[in-house]
């Protein structure tokens, strides 16, 4: 026999999973939602080197090692940058199901330690990306 408490717990877990799945897939949720679930992620290849100062994140164009999402679209796709331990910027495109595509512009400078590379800023509903 299922007790009411267990039922509520099971039901809540099911709802939580459903809402999270809907959100990741970019489907509609209530406008007045006041409860949230937060999912953390790191893209493959992102650096894990500590920076001496958090000033690397001072402003809009972060220079910190690691994974930095820049924008999402209504389909739940995410575009952003990551900085490798070698000091190179690459872009990434993450699908709602978590698949990550590396973005590297053909003419970008990928010299280790120069902290140059590819820096996506935005994507539209079709998945077209712009950046520098």
């Amino acid at each position: 026999m299922i007790t009411p408490i267990r039922f509520v717990s099971w039901y809540s877990t099911l709802l939580l999973g459903l809402f999270t799945a809907l959100c990741l897939l970019g489907l509609s949720l209530t406008a007045s939602a006041q409860e949230y679930q937060i999912i953390a992620f790191d893209v493959p290849g992102a650096g894990t080197t500590s920076s001496a100062s958090a000033a690397c994140a001072n402003g809009f164009l972060t220079g910190c090692y690691g994974t930095t999402p820049m924008a999402n679209n209504n389909a739940g796709e995410i575009v952003g940058i990551y900085i490798t331990n070698e000091g190179v910027y690459y872009g990434f495109l993450r699908s709602p199901r978590g698949q990550v595509t590396k973005l590297s512009e053909p003419n970008a400078d990928t010299t280790p330690g120069d902290f140059n590379g590819t820096y996506p800023m935005s994507l539209n509903s079709s998945g077209a990306v712009t950046g520098l």
Partner: protein, 251 residues
């Protein structure tokens, strides 16, 4: 980016690459073209540094034609918002400088420019995002030096966002919004650490901290954009100053 000259790009969904270089952009180190937003029509907006390091906004049509965006009141640069500077109608938003004073602006598709002044006396107003309906969000510096977020609708109705208490001791800058006029940004505590927030047009604010958030200066949770489902993405700076991505889903 090669030789420290900045070039823009578009990556189409099929993987095709298009270079985005405004012909008026400079070609010396750190000059060049910086796209910031692409809309569903394939239009791109951003700004460029010319050969004299002057800053100008631009709109690039899907066909590749560039239109320069210089606010008529600017004498020290026009910038397009870095995170959400272009909407589906082709209106752009950003800020322009008169000397060292910054004002927000919206440029309608017909070229008409409107100054955004949620607080007229502020020496610094920035627009971070414009949505499909023409509502804008951003922040301004108050007379006490702290920052306050705002949401301004096309009819001029303005909502201010200020996280009260220790979490918002140093200010509440807002960055972007969705078509439902839900805003995201940060509150900055007395240590300089960031906390994420979602703000609503009725003034309600919900704050959040993503896992691994550090508590030191510039560390913590930093949202970037919010989509029409209320999904927020951004990054966390941990206690070692390493960045991690996060996705916030309402439920």
């Amino acid at each position: 980016m090669t030789d420290e000259v900045v070039h823009g790009f578009i990556r189409e969904p099929n993987g095709n690459h298009i270079e985005v270089d405004d012909l008026a952009a400079g070609t010396a180190a750190f000059q060049g073209t910086r796209p910031s937003t692409i809309n569903d029509n394939g239009e791109v907006a951003g700004f460029y540094f010319d050969s004299s390091n002057g800053v100008h906004g631009f709109i690039r049509s899907r066909q590749g034609e560039f239109t320069t965006v210089d606010d008529p009141n600017a004498n020290n640069g026009t910038y397009i918002a870095l995170e959400q500077g272009l909407n589906a109608r082709g209106a752009v938003a950003g800020w322009y400088n008169v000397g060292f004073v910054s004002y927000g602006f919206v440029r309608e598709p017909n070229g008409k420019s409107i100054t955004i002044e949620p607080l007229v006396s502020s020496p610094f107003t920035l627009v971070g995002g414009i949505n499909a309906g023409g509502a804008v969000t951003g922040y301004f510096v108050t007379s006490t030096g702290s920052t306050s977020g705002y949401l301004q609708k096309p009819n001029g109705q303005t909502t201010f966002f200020n996280v009260s208490g220790p979490e918002g001791a140093l200010g509440t800058p807002a960055f972007t919004l969705n078509s439902r006029e839900e805003v995201t940004g940060i509150s900055v505590d007395a240590n300089g650490a960031n906390h994420g927030f979602i703000g609503f047009a009725n003034g309600y604010i919900k704050t959040f901290d993503a896992p691994q958030s550090g508590t030191g200066n510039f560390q913590g949770t930093r949202p970037t954009t919010i989509n029409d489902s209320g999904q927020v993405v951004g990054w966390v700076l941990d206690s070692n100053n390493v960045a991690h991505g996060f996705i916030l889903c309402p439920r």
